[in-house]
Amino acid sequence: MTVSVVQFGGSNCDRDAVRALEHVGVDAGRVWHEDGLPADTEGIVLPGGFSYGDYLRAGAMAARAPIMAEVREAAADGVPVIGVCNGAQIGSESGLTPGAFTTNASARFQCEPVHLRVERADTPWTAAYDEGDVIEVPIAHGEGRFEIGEEAHADLVADDRVLFRYCDADGNVTDAANPNGSTDNVAGVLGERESVAVLMPHPERATLPDLGRSTDGAGILRAFV
């Protein structure tokens, strides 16, 4: 599969994403947003970073870049799309997924390993896991607090579109294990199709064994294999 990692001005996890994807055996390359999606794109990653300096709101500017119309069209056609960190903010700002990511409850940038509970194991992103599995993946964000209106949250839960929740090492979803004040400990959600997902934690930073930390994130990237 050829995965396009879309690079905006200020993206900075694009190289990491390509390297992690190649590690799991996926053919991937960076695509500058102004060049549009290559015709052979079979998967899309919106990588982390600080696109457009987080002006206005994190992800707001990139979400309105012309390439995002192509990304939305591809997503509607069933092309797998994942947004990571700033890519998650771009995904939610562009309407690919419900809710919004905004300033952490701590009002601080937080860079730390967290535990995630796999809430759905029947999606391409989580086929490597079992429901209820606990994985360790790092976060690095200042605007990662998931917010969603009450009604939309009820729909999100009823439609079973929560993909990951922040939890403790034993899988308990608690306030103490919620790093940023996210509603319902939500760390990642699905779009209208299960082939579209966003999450604040960085699976590409928990894939390469050389980094000497968790490689639990590799399973998420294997969706593209």
Binding site: A60, A100, T102, T103, E147
Partner: protein
């Protein structure tokens, strides 16, 4: 055509946590000020030419809908004045 300034004020919906406002309030209190609450908002001043004030307001409204505000977390209001 008339020259207008449309002022778009974007604020968090009631009930949405505002950590920056809380931090700002704490800083004011540390300086000795007494206050019971503090809210922050973003204000955009858009200069534009329009046939009348309604058209100017409509265009500013669309700007808020499509970019300046995020309807999941924000409310906004538009005020138009001749420039």
């Amino acid at each position: 055509m008339t020259a207008y300034t449309a002022t778009v004020t974007v604020r968090l919906k009631r009930g949405v946590l505002d950590p920056e406002a809380e931090t700002t309030q704490q800083a004011l209190e540390r300086l000795g000020f007494e206050l019971s609450d503090l809210r922050s908002a973003d204000r955009f001043e858009v200069d534009l030419d329009a046939a009348d004030a309604d058209e100017a307001a409509d265009r500013a409204d669309e700007m808020a809908e499509r970019l300046l505000a995020n309807p999941t977390i924000h409310d906004y209001e538009v005020a138009v004045a001749e420039r």
